[in-house]
Amino acid sequence: MIYNEEYETLPREALEALQLKRLQAQIERIYARVPYYRAKMDEAGVAPGDIRTLADIRKLPFTTKEDLRKNYPFGLFTVPLERVVRVHASSGTTGQPTVVGYTKRDIGIWAELMARCLTAAGATQQDIIHNAYGYGLFTGGLGAHYGAENLGATVVPVSGGNTKRQIMLMRDFRSTVLLCTPSYALNLAEAMVDMGIDPREMALKVGVFGAEPWSENMREEIEKQLGIKAIDIYGLSEIIGPGVAIECVEEQRGLHIMEDHFLPEIVHPETFEPLPLGDKGELVFTTLTKEAFPLIRYRTKDFSRLITAPCSCARTFYRMEKVTGRSDDMLIIRGVNVFPSQIEHVLISIEGVEPHYQIIIEREGSLDTMEVQVEVSDSIFSDEVKTLEGLTKKIQNEIKDLLGVSCKVKLVEPKSIQRSEGKAKRVIDKRKI
């Protein structure tokens, strides 16, 4: 099933013509209304009139999270606040959160895109949708909610937490569609078994999972344990929230990007040069229709590649490969944003601890684990085990207090952590996504 047959199956030529028209209008509007963008474009020596083809987008400067922070909270909005009907914000554990805004029309488009996604996953208005994405500043809960309502399905706005009750409701309501993070899906499956409920006896048929990277192995595991189809959804609040791209239930291979609203590019993660179609690199998006908070060439820091081959579902939108990694150091550990600099902050605040550390991220089963390796200097060394174990406990506690994520602290020998020759390699991410 396709929610918006007209747009989702547009022939490439017509789609690209539409993209160009929307891009030009968008750039013109942004240039006219946002001094910050105007200054950046002037500096790059590019005017709205220079955008004559889609490839001309390469002339435009990138936008990064840093630009968003600099303009906190509303500096990049292109409409007056009275036209903004909603804001969402990132968790913002380091410094300022990033704030995004929506006009009434933006919310309508977002609801349509989410409805498209749910349809691509096989949901219809007959379905009972259990929405366990968090409601609030996070875009997940409300984004999915509006989409499900738009589809005409029955939404259960359960939000996160209280797993036992969720399972009870899911069972009693005969919910058919599950929306949550992939790791939570596995937790639900486990909790059902603990409660003596066979997950396969639930009415669930499909789950739409996103907001954190997950592997094909994890998909298999979820599908097996819950007896459902597990569909990957992609989105980020800066671009709109969930609903930027979705796997179709027919193929489950690559996520169709809502190209009539977002223009994707893949660039080299270090040189930022555009890469040939099909190459892997950093995913960059330009919004084509957003009113309140449009973005030009926003660097997502997510790694992917574009798949141009036709899909059996008949959608003409290019697909993006499942996101396999992030190009910068920000870590998402069990859904929490963690920056290595925060770990550094904790370590340095403890007397005698050297700022030589490394963060090892692994995934055990469905859970991310973080190990912080700290070198043992003379000043913290002791001949007594309990002293050293007390130290690791102290570091663990302080990291937990600051970040809300528990980790394991491992003491290592001096100089055993590779020294940087320029940019330090703080993070070793061993998660096989």
Partner: protein
């Protein structure tokens, strides 16, 4: 009556112990007594050697984290109850032992117990008063 002991931080990796003993051997340093405390992640190697200062220096040069602490070395009769007797004295005095390890002497008549006390001076006082023979650093290093 304090005896110097060096402690070395070790990650649980194969070959590390051999590396340390090799380094000491290369400098002609003899190990008098040793113990290894280990956890799942790391170990602490404690050594009494015939030349503490040289051992500390060469290990530091090789990049190890080395600490020096004072321990007490007590002689006990190498027969049933020999150790029990000393421990009873320590217990009665309310002293805390952080850790201890033992080795026997060539003669086979006495054993040596190495104690790491929370309060070294107080412990020496108690043990000496109770008539326990404590070895000086020189004696231990020369064994």
């Amino acid at each position: 009556m304090k005896v110097e002991q060096i402690a070395i931080f070790l990650e649980n990796r194969s070959g590390r112990l051999a590396e340390i003993t090799g380094i000491l051997a290369g400098k002609g340093i003899n190990i008098r007594a040793m113990s290894l405390a280990d956890t799942s992640d790391f170990g602490i190697l404690r050594l009494i050697v015939n030349d503490t200062e040289s051992a500390r220096k060469v290990l530091k040069e090789k990049g190890f984290t080395v600490g020096t602490t004072n321990v007490v070395v007590a002689e006990v009769q190498d027969k049933p109850g020999g150790l029990a007797n000393v421990l009873q004295i320590i217990k009665n005095a309310g002293l805390n032992i952080e850790y201890m390890y033992a080795f026997t002497q060539k003669s086979g008549e006495t054993g040596l117990i190495i104690f790491r006390f929370e309060k070294v001076d107080a412990a020496i006082d108690v043990l000496v008063k109770a008539g326990v023979r404590l070895l000086s650093g020189e004696e231990v290093y020369a064994i």
